[in-house]
């Protein structure tokens, strides 16, 4: 008996797919003249998708033969992915224009990549998940490679593609092992099979190893982080921003669907693996970041350490831990958006403000944006009363509550080490004399949104309760 699936649950994705095709057509026919139109259409797509997500918030369930899920978690993550990518496009536009990279293809890739993220978030079947992941990743590889004349960017794209493919291969291999043991690729079937103990646990744990490696690659957790600094550094800053922000939210969905929903009963197996990933990421990320003079590279290593913190929430294996990790992911996305946005803001034609020294004396030239950067850096360092502190607080609390005190100890000590390199950015901005002129070429919309972005980090630091509550409800 054929049942009509509940299409409504996938309405945001369908809308986005339709709009992506429209954008593709506009790009193909209007060519270079239509770039402004394409930009507007892309923003409209993201905005309308966000509206649809909000409109249908609440009810949910499985659809498409239990391969697709709409729940509170997916709604929240989709909303954030859309908002984050809207900001990403807004921040990127002036930068790309100045470098003649603003082609219609960028927007097509961005929208398709966002579609991939949305599918990842809603996937409740390993194949759907893989589909979403590949859709997202292939677009990202192409975006990094868009700057054809730049040798670094091409190298970064190659590296990203090859290592990303290995990661996908690992993930697929892990999925196939899980399939072999449980006889299903659907997350709820797997969860049931594991709970009833039908499969061989040793083989299952073997499969988990490969899943964790795949997820670790996508997150950029140590020791699978090698691609991350090179790609962040090599890619044009706008692309770096795109890779750094929303895909992490999608990757969070992936780890939750796979480990927390599918394999929660095997937590004792994956917990230790994640502990190693988290601890190594925090140590390596924070230590190596100290040695960086390039801000993009420094932020790449800082991302690695943030991934370590985020994994701490997941590895605790409690509802509270998952919501802490979710909170961390969202705050991280917001902070990264602001930090890379600041690099984009200060860059102009023929000048990349990507070295830490390029921020020298910023407070003399642009006191307002120096203050915004100060907020972002202190927040990343985890100093209250900024949002980054509460993110760290919740994940550390999650591991303390499951009696993993030594992990919490590593976390706090490495965050002191981490504070040093964030402070260095503040030091050059506030304590050093300016060497270059800081002229702003970006439009006022970007300036306002970037300020709002940074002030949001401060605001969430003063009243973090609401977002925390939302993150808790999602997992309740």
């Amino acid at each position: 008996m054929f049942q009509v699936p509940n299409m409504l649950f996938a309405l945001p994705e369908m809308l986005m797919l339709g709009m992506a095709c429209v954008i593709l057509l506009v790009v193909a026919f209007a060519g270079a003249r239509g770039t402004d139109w394409v930009y507007g259409l892309s923003q409209l797509t993201l905005l309308s998708t966000a509206v649809v997500v909000v409109w249908f918030i609440g009810d949910g369930g499985l659809t498409f033969s239990d391969t697709y899920i709409k729940d509170n978690l997916s709604d929240l993550l989709k909303l954030f992915i859309c908002i984050v990518n809207m900001l990403v496009l807004l921040y990127s536009i002036a930068y790309l224009k100045a470098r003649k990279l603003l082609q219609g293809e960028f927007f097509v890739l961005a929208i398709f990549s966002t579609l991939g993220m949305l599918i990842m978030v809603s996937a409740y079947h390993m194949l759907t998940l893989y589909l979403g992941l590949e859709l997202m990743s292939l677009c990202l590889y192409a975006m990094v490679a868009m700057h054809r004349d730049s040798a670094v960017a091409t190298e970064a794209a190659m590296k990203y593609f090859i290592l990303g493919s290995i990661a996908s291969g690992m993930l697929l291999y892990g999925m196939s092992i899980i399939y072999g043991v449980t006889g299903s690729l659907a997350i709820n079937d797997i969860a049931q099979a594991v709970a009833t103990g039908t499969g061989d646990e040793t083989i299952l744990s073997f499969g988990i190893v490969f899943l964790v490696i795949g997820v670790g690659f996508k997150f950029g957790a140590v020791p699978f982080h090698m691609w991350l600094p090179d790609v962040y550094h090599g890619a044009p800053t706008a692309m770096t921003l795109f890779i750094a922000a929303a895909p992490k939210i999608a990757a969070f969905a992936m780890i939750i669907r796979l480990l927390a929903e599918g394999l929660i009963d095997l937590q004792h197996h994956w917990q230790d693996m994640l502990v190693m990933l988290a601890v190594l990421s925090m140590i390596v990320g924070n230590l190596v970041a100290i040695a960086q003079s390039n801000l993009k590279r420094m932020l790449a290593y800082s991302t690695i350490s943030h991934v370590g913190f985020l994994l701490m929430g997941v590895l605790s294996g409690t509802q509270e831990g998952f919501s802490a990790a979710l909170f961390y992911t969202l705050i991280y996305a917001l902070m990264t958006l602001g930090a890379f946005g600041m690099i984009l803001l200060l860059s102009r034609q023929g000048y990349e403000a990507e070295n830490i020294d390029d921020f020298k004396g910023l407070s003399d030239r642009q006191p307002w944006f120096a203050l915004m950067m100060l907020i972002l850096m202190f927040s990343m360092a985890g100093i209250p009363p900024l949002a980054g502190f509460y993110a760290k607080l919740t994940v550390i609390k999650a591991v303390v509550d499951v009696d993993l005190l030594w992990v919490a100890l590593v976390a706090v000590v490495t965050s002191v080490i981490g504070a040093f390199y964030y402070l260095r950015v503040i030091k050059v901005m506030y304590f050093d004399k300016p060497v270059v002129e800081h002229r702003l070429e970006a439009g006022s919309t970007m300036q306002i949104m970037l300020s709002a972005n940074a002030l949001m980090v401060l605001g969430l630091g003063i009243v973090p309760g609401i977002l925390m509550k939302i993150c808790t409800i999602v997992f309740a």
Binding site: K397, A419, L423, Y430
Partner: protein
């Protein structure tokens, strides 16, 4: 009339919002400085409301405000003061007002941001003293680092970047252990309220780990030997206002932390480890006293003398365990805790005065080297009178506040162990030695050089700034009863908490 007002919230947010407004007014507006002065004065007047409305017969928290803040974790915006925190808040508001006055013509570089930093600092520090929720406490405890980091880094001396980074990382390193301890306590007690932490039962092992975490956090702040090395650097490089706030208040937050967290939460561990903390305190008193003797930089000398004086605070707090062991009556213990408290308040005013005095000299001569001075009394008689008075207070001259705290702690120490008292009492000699020798070299003798010859005496602003501090120092020295009365009930309560084993 003060009971209905949310007085503590006003005290916290008035200066913070005032500071933000001062930044917005900017350096160009002439009204910016009067505005900052008004905010600081108003805050100080409001803080006197705490004293007037304070009920000194109870140890219960007063002026309590409690609102839900982060409901998910049951974290509250929970404020209240008792006999320990109230005097420290008043110390904060007075010091900040003086800093604003001291900066008046002196700070030329971005004055609005300078004043704003101190106003915001003031609000944060008052919040630290009045927070009754662990997360709230921690948030303000850490947030305080941001303005101080900028103040030292932007307005500091030539080596300011090194000093401010050292200061920030040292204190941040200490406080992350506090965060772990607080999270662990919340794990055990299922609440973030500090007063609930006081009730929770803990095994000796747990208590020792917690105490060590507290010790790392607060010992860095106090600072105790051997984690004091950030202080001389920070003081030397900081602008006058930064030094004043650093010495007068942030150091007290360390002592306050011991009172609020270490003693009531981990009494058994404090008993077990008191020898360790007493040893560190006595090293601070004696060894750092000798170190101070060898200094050639005025600010460094005062910085080291601060460490030695703060040694009395930690000594007073932890000898109570030995007093309990020796004497059945608790009178010595009361004396020890109250002595430590008086020492904190008194050191707050005296060190503020000393740093302001150095600031007065530095503004004229742009050097802090003792050898660059000599015979200042000839050209600045009024200033010299104040400076000598504060130096005497620093050395613990009877009749000044410096004497009261030290005398009480030494007296209590006799009940604990004769040798503690003996070593502590050496400060009377050492303190006199390093301060008076400094006074001799800077103020007395022949006029040393042309620069000193051309010095002009203090103006009206500086006169009133120093005079008000002199009055306070004398007042506490001659009549400490009003200060002691407010803390009496809280001290009694603390001692019952400390004497009850949690095992």
């Amino acid at each position: 009339m003060f009971a209905e007002l949310p007085l503590l919230s006003l005290l916290i947010w008035l200066p913070i919002l005032g500071g933000m407004l001062a930044i917005m007014l900017g350096d160009q507006r002439t009204m910016m400085k009067p505005f900052a002065l008004t905010v600081a004065s108003l805050t100080m007047l409001l803080s006197f409301g705490l004293y007037v409305g304070f009920d000194s017969s109870t140890h219960q928290m007063q002026f309590v405000e409690k609102l839900p803040w982060i409901e998910t974790f049951n974290i509250h915006y929970h404020l209240g003061v008792d006999g320990f925190s109230m005097p420290l808040i008043i110390l904060t508001t007075i010091s900040t007002l003086l800093v604003v006055v001291a900066a008046w013509e002196v700070i030329q570089h971005r004055p609005s941001q300078y004043l704003a930093a101190f106003l915001i600092m003031e609000g944060l520090m008052i919040a630290v003293f009045s927070a009754l929720d662990a997360v709230l406490f921690y948030v303000f405890f850490e947030a305080m680092l941001i303005p101080l980091f900028l103040v030292i880094g932007i307005w500091g001396g030539p080596n300011r970047v090194y000093a401010t980074l050292k200061f920030f990382l040292y204190t941040f390193f200490g406080s992350v252990f506090l965060l772990l301890a607080l999270l662990y306590l919340r794990h055990v007690s299922d609440s973030f309220a500090i007063l609930d932490f006081h009730q929770v039962g803990l095994s000796l092992d747990e208590q020792i780990w917690l105490l060590l975490a507290f010790l790392i956090a607060f010992a860095v702040k106090v600072p105790m030997w051997p984690v004091h090395t950030w202080l001389p650097d920070a003081h030397v490089e900081a602008p006058t206002g930064g030094s004043v706030i650093l010495a007068a208040i942030t150091l007290k937050i360390g002592g306050y932390g011991f009172l609020r967290f270490a003693l009531p939460i981990t009494p058994d561990a404090s008993l077990a480890l008191d020898w360790f903390i007493i040893t560190l305190s006595l090293i601070a008193v004696v060894y750092i006293g000798f170190v101070a003797l060898a200094q050639t930089d005025l600010k460094k000398l005062i910085a080291y003398s601060s460490i030695a004086h703060m040694g009395f605070v930690t000594l007073g707090l932890f000898i109570v365990f030995d007093i309990f062991a020796n004497a059945s009556t608790g009178s010595g213990a009361v004396l020890a805790i109250e002595g430590a408290m008086v020492q904190m308040i008194s050191h707050g005013f005296i060190s503020a005065a000393m740093f302001l005095a150095v600031g007065v000299l530095y503004d004229r001569m742009h050097t802090r080297e003792i050898s660059a001075y000599g015979g200042v009394v000839n050209t600045m008689p009024k200033f010299a009178a104040f400076a000598v008075f504060f130096a005497m207070a620093n050395a613990g001259l009877p009749g000044t506040s410096g004497f009261v705290g030290e005398f009480m702690v030494i007296l209590a120490a006799f009940q604990a162990n004769f040798w503690f008292a003996f070593l502590a009492a050496t400060t009377l000699i050492l303190g006199a030695a390093y301060t008076l020798w400094m006074v001799k070299r800077v103020f007395f003798g022949e006029v040393a050089n042309k620069e000193v010859q051309s010095l002009s005496d203090i103006n009206r602003r500086e006169f009133w700034m120093l005079a008000s501090l002199a009055v306070i120092v004398l007042l506490i020295g001659l009549w400490p009863a009003p200060l002691l009365d407010v803390m009496h009930a809280s001290v009694k309560h603390l001692l019952t908490q400390v004497s009850q084993s949690k095992l």
